[in-house]
Amino acid sequence: MIINHPLLGPRDAAEFVYLGDASLINRPDSATSNAAEQFYEYLYLRDNVAGEMRELWYHEQGDRSWLVVTRNTLTHEISNVELARDVARAQGRNR
């Protein structure tokens, strides 16, 4: 596969390490009352969609950026690639 890196252009997916669903960005707040339940769902449960999925890839053999790749799990077509840092910020993650 080829991932069109937003900063570096197309790169072989072999340079990347795969983590999984981009929902892993949404780490729950440990201070909430049902933190245990939230962390369980966050870490263990997956939509595992057959179709377009947003997922985390790490450019370990490149610029060390984490990317959010939108990829179809039926066809492997990649329709969007973003820097995970930007996605995280856009979702309100900060400090």
């Binding site: 072989d12 960005i25 729950p28 245990a36 870490l43 790490y58 840092r85």
Partner: protein, 982 residues
């Protein structure tokens, strides 16, 4: 034998002779020959045996689709089984043997299977060999295994080398036949970066096999001149002998280039290169493969594909027979008859299954329309055929054409399915192609020469436009537009004999019937039950025939019946090529520590730790057993001072205004409160609350920490930290960079460690206990101003330091430290002594931190700070990880101090049987402690902390023993830590 069937020069160089042997018999051939053309030229019809019935087999085709003519090529370690004679370029001294027979090729003892064929129908083995039960492995299976298989491996390491590479192109054109050449010409002239790859050694495809004309020249000449034009273009890369074997995601293609297979010796160069080609677009111009027709005994030597018969005549100047008959259901088959007659070969008959007017006249041949062949005669090669009209015809070669199958394989590698085209009686690529892929020429159903060339131009123009490149003007080419009319005819219904579909795997029309009877009616069931199309040719000549007959039998259309899935590779690829350079020591890079050369010179024994090589121990003269060396290293360290290269530990520079806060979140314990100039041991959890890694982190400055990871986890911890930094807390001011390779780091341990180091560390940096207490760290200089770092940390439990100097000094500093330590008899120690001392001290290491362990398991549950959030904190509280009877790391001593403990033993309460129900834990690490003079161990056992002094059994049925052991503190040495603070 002379070349009795060589009728003219063709495209081979008859001025030069090449010698080769087949089954040890010497033959003559010429440059340009394949092994198949050479064997045919020399009149060798029988070349192999079939898989199941061991029937005699001859050459069937002239390309990579060949099901029959498989040989063992070369000798000794170079032996190459299952090699298709039809694509083996002849070289001087080539040696080939037939395979898969017992006794001589002409009299194969396994031919008995043929007589038993009524009992060996499809799926017979699923229905028997079940009784008596023990007989399957002892008798039936060994017999089946020995008779199955085709050629043999030599059993010796492959002596050739292989290489890999990466290529990039705007357009990859696959196949250099008429469509491929025309597409390449246009794309090349338009300035695109083009790769044109073809499996043949001569670019041009069937242009060289036909007598068709282009622009008044022979097709072969047109191909040659076009190739010449292309070879002058800098933007076009021509790759002959290169099979594009697979189409993978996003325009990545796998290709195998055969570099030296056509040479007697590789001369040390890679035999083959496996290319990964990145192409923005591809044009599949892979042509078509002819298929056969099923009729009685259609597998005999001499029965060949019609297109191959004329290819041998036209390209190689060889006639496969002296008297040839043609059996066809289409116009194309007739060209075999006319081409042969024009070369003076006798054509005894043309039999056409269609009841139409003969499309051509063939001098001297009986023309028999509306008739089919029902049987052939001649055990080792045909001499007569019988027709449905009761006629018999003499011939020594029967050229069969059942029509052409476009080579759609690559178009289906991403699970696309082709569609059946009724008019052309073939499967054509369907609309859903892999992204970026286009198809031209015969592969897309443009079967005539003129249509193929035009299709190449047209498709190339489209592709160029899609790349926003200006397409050059399409040249006008005037080529033959030969007729390709066809009426499907699959098998002779009048035949009562076995009619072969899959020649290599011996699948006949009867097997299709049995498969249907047994309920195996889905096309995939058919394939799996009969093994149709699963031979080395992957059914290139048989699949469509088989499923057409299946469709007929079940009353469904061919489209409804569908195909099985086309899987890469298009043609088989050697495992050696797919592995490339990955052989022996080259399998993975070797990482050497900064003092590797020094250790090697010192005679160290090395051990693989991941990709690292580390010194395991340093034997000295007179030591005959590793234990002697290790015991000496341990004792000398504990009694005086020892030095160990610990550079492999991961080192990560963590800098930033929020570095402390960041570390608080990734470590279970707290780092923001650590004073500058201090080191702290930290444990890091995964989000699931399991221990991920541990190590010390030093605060070198207000905004600068140096984290140490274990050797094994250096890369994964860095990745995890980047995840936390970029994805979880992008607002923290923190920067990471690995400094693992930057520093050569050495543990200097033992009561004399300080005295030794005081000789090396520059006097500006006092390292006495007051100025540099336990867990201190500092930037220092050594040996007169060389920048270094010093950490007062101890893994051995002794007074110890770790000193780090830039890697360039790694070899030198070992020498220097030992020189400084000479008065103390300082020793270098290896990983084995390191391991012994850490077991003596009760530190957890890889065997304990195996990804299944919680902080509580190793007795550090209280380090997980509940005053802050940190990775893994919440989920570490789940009940299953905090059980009353949870595992705890403790020490074990044998009750009988002479006993030797072994890692991997499981603990059971005394008196209990060693069963899963009674399992209470296991021994993780053991060592012989020269300090305590007995075997000691660490291990996890339920409620370990509460069981000090209890005696349990360390059951080790695997090694046939059980040892009584006492549960003790894991800190075998200096439990109060007085030494390391001293």
């Amino acid at each position: 034998m002379s070349q009795v069937n060589r009728i003219e020069q063709g495209l081979v160089d008859t001025n030069r002779e090449l010698k080769f042997t087949f089954n040890d018999k010497l033959y003559i051939a010429h440059p340009g020959d394949t092994l198949a053309s050479a064997l045919l030229a020399n009149g060798q019809r029988l070349v192999g045996r079939s898989f199941k019935y061991h029937r005699p087999r001859g050459i069937f085709s002239c390309g990579s689709e060949e099901p029959n003519a498989l040989v063992e090529l070369r000798r000794g370690a170079y032996l190459e089984p299952n090699t298709r004679a039809t694509v083996t370029e002849l070289f001087d001294g080539l040696q080939a043997r037939s395979q898969n027979h017992r006794g001589p090729l002409g009299f194969d003892l396994m031919g008995i299977n043929d007589l038993l064929s009524p009992f060996l129908s499809a799926g017979f083995y699923y229905k028997t060999f079940m009784w008596p039960k023990a007989f399957w492995e002892k008798l039936y299976e060994p017999v089946i295994r020995a008779s199955a298989g085709l050629g043999s491996l030599s059993g010796l390491p492959d002596p050739d080398s292989y290489d890999k590479g990466f290529l990039h192109a705007d357009i990859l054109i696959i196949g250099a036949g008429s469509a491929g050449l025309s597409a390449a010409l246009l794309a090349g002239e338009s300035g695109a970066r083009v790769i044109l790859a073809d499996e043949d050694f001569k670019l041009g495809g069937r242009l060289h096999a036909e007598t068709l004309q282009v622009d008044g020249k022979s097709g072969s000449q047109w191909a040659t001149s076009t190739v010449k034009t292309l070879s002058k273009m800098d933007n076009v890369r021509l790759m002959s002998r290169t099979t594009v074997y697979g189409a993978f995601d996003h325009g990545i293609y796998g290709a195998l280039e055969r570099k030296t297979d056509h040479l007697a010796s590789a001369h040390g160069m890679p035999r083959q290169v496996l290319w990964r080609i990145y192409a923005k677009r591809s044009i599949v111009c892979t042509g078509a493969t002819e298929r056969s027709i099923a009729f009685g005994n259609n597998d005999r030597p001499g029965v060949m594909l019609a297109g191959a018969v004329r290819a041998y005549a036209n390209r190689w100047g060889v006639t496969p027979g002296k008297r040839v008959a043609v059996f066809t259901n289409n116009d194309d088959g007739w060209r075999t008859a006319t081409d042969l007659v024009n070369k003076g070969v006798e054509v005894s008959a043309v039999i056409d299954s269609r009841s139409i007017e003969a499309p051509a006249s063939v001098a001297g041949a009986s023309i028999i329309m509306g008739t089919n062949v029902i049987d052939t005669m001649g055990r080792a090669g045909i001499h007569t055929i019988a027709l449905s009209n009761k006629q018999t015809i003499k011939c020594d070669c029967l050229a069969v054409s059942g029509g052409w199958n476009p080579n759609v394989h690559l178009t289906c590698h991403q699970r696309g399915r082709p569609s059946w085209n009724e008019k052309q009686a073939c499967f054509l690529p369907d609309g859903v192609l892999p992204p970026g892929m286009h198809v031209a020429g015969a592969a897309n159903g443009a079967l005539s020469l003129s249509s193929a060339i035009n299709s190449g131009f047209l498709v190339a123009t489209d592709v160029l436009q899609s790349l926003n490149l200006n397409a050059a003007k399409m040249p006008s080419v005037n080529a033959d537009d030969e007729s390709t009319n066809i009426e499907p005819f699959w098998h002779s219904k009048q035949s009562t004999k076995r009619c072969w579909i899959d020649l290599q795997n011996d699948v006949t029309t009867k097997d299709i019937v049995v498969s249907h009877q047994d309920g195996f009616r889905a096309v995939e069931h058919l394939k799996r039950y009969t093994t149709l199309g699963m031979a080395t040719d992957q059914g290139k000549t048989s699949n469509v025939l088989g499923l057409a007959i299946m469709a007929e039998h079940s009353g469904k259309s061919i489209q409804e019946t569908g195909t099985t899935i086309f899987r890469p590779p298009y043609s088989p690829v050697p495992i050696g090529a797919l592995a490339g350079r990955s052989r022996g020591k080259e399998f993975k890079p070797t990482r050497k520590t900064p003092s590797h050369d020094w250790a090697e010179a010192r005679g160290a024994v090395f051990v693989e730790t991941g990709n690292w090589l580390r010194a395991q121990w340093f034997p000295i003269e007179g030591e005959t057993h590793w234990r002697e060396s290790v015991d000496r290293e341990v004792l000398q360290t504990r009694n005086s001072v020892g030095i160990c290269d610990v550079s492999t530990l991961g080192k990560i520079d963590v800098q930033g205004k929020d570095a402390g806060e960041f570390l608080d979140r990734v470590y279970a314990n707290t780092f923001s409160t650590l004073a500058v100039g201090k080191v702290r041991y930290g444990i890091m959890l995964r989000e699931d609350g399991i221990l991920m890694d541990d190590g010390t982190t030093a605060r070198m400055g207000e905004h600068h920490y140096v984290m140490t990871t274990t050797t094994a986890n250096a890369v994964s911890v860095f990745r995890h930290l980047e995840f936390c930094r970029q994805c979880l807390w992008p607002g923290l001011d923190v920067q990471l960079i690995s400094a693992t390779e930057q520093w050569a780091q050495y543990a200097v341990a033992g009561p004399n460690a300080r005295k030794l180091l005081q000789k090396v560390v520059d006097p500006d940096f006092p390292i006495d206990n007051e100025n540099f207490p336990f867990m201190a760290c500092s930037d220092i200089t050594v040996c007169g101003g060389i920048g270094a770092r010093l950490f007062r940390i101890s893994f051995s439990g002794e007074l110890a330091y770790e000193i780090a100097v830039p890697t360039r000094y790694g070899n030198s500093i070992m020498e220097t430290l030992l020189q400084a330590g000479e008065e103390f008899d300082a020793v270098p120690y290896g990983t084995e002594a390191l391991g012994v001392m850490r077991v003596e001290k009760g530190h957890a290491a890889g065997n304990e931190l195996n990804g299944q362990t919680t902080a509580a398991n190793i007795g550090l549950g209280r380090m997980v700070s509940k005053k802050k959030d940190s990775i893994g904190n919440t989920l570490s509280e789940r009940e299953g990880m905090n059980r009353e009877n949870g595992l705890v790391l403790v020490g074990f001593k044998p009750v009988n101090s002479a006993s030797t403990l072994s890692a991997g033993a499981h603990f059971v309460t005394r008196g209990n049987a060693a069963t899963t129900e009674n399992d209470e834990g296991w021994m993780t690490s053991v060592a012989y402690s020269p300090t305590l003079e007995c075997s000691i161990g660490l291990g996890f056992i339920q409620r370990g902390q509460a069981r000090m002094g209890e005696i349990v059994e360390a059951a080790d049925p695997l090694r046939g023993k059980s040892t009584s052991v006492e549960i003790v503190s894991p800190h075998f040495i200096d439990p109060d830590g007085e030494r390391l603070r001293g």
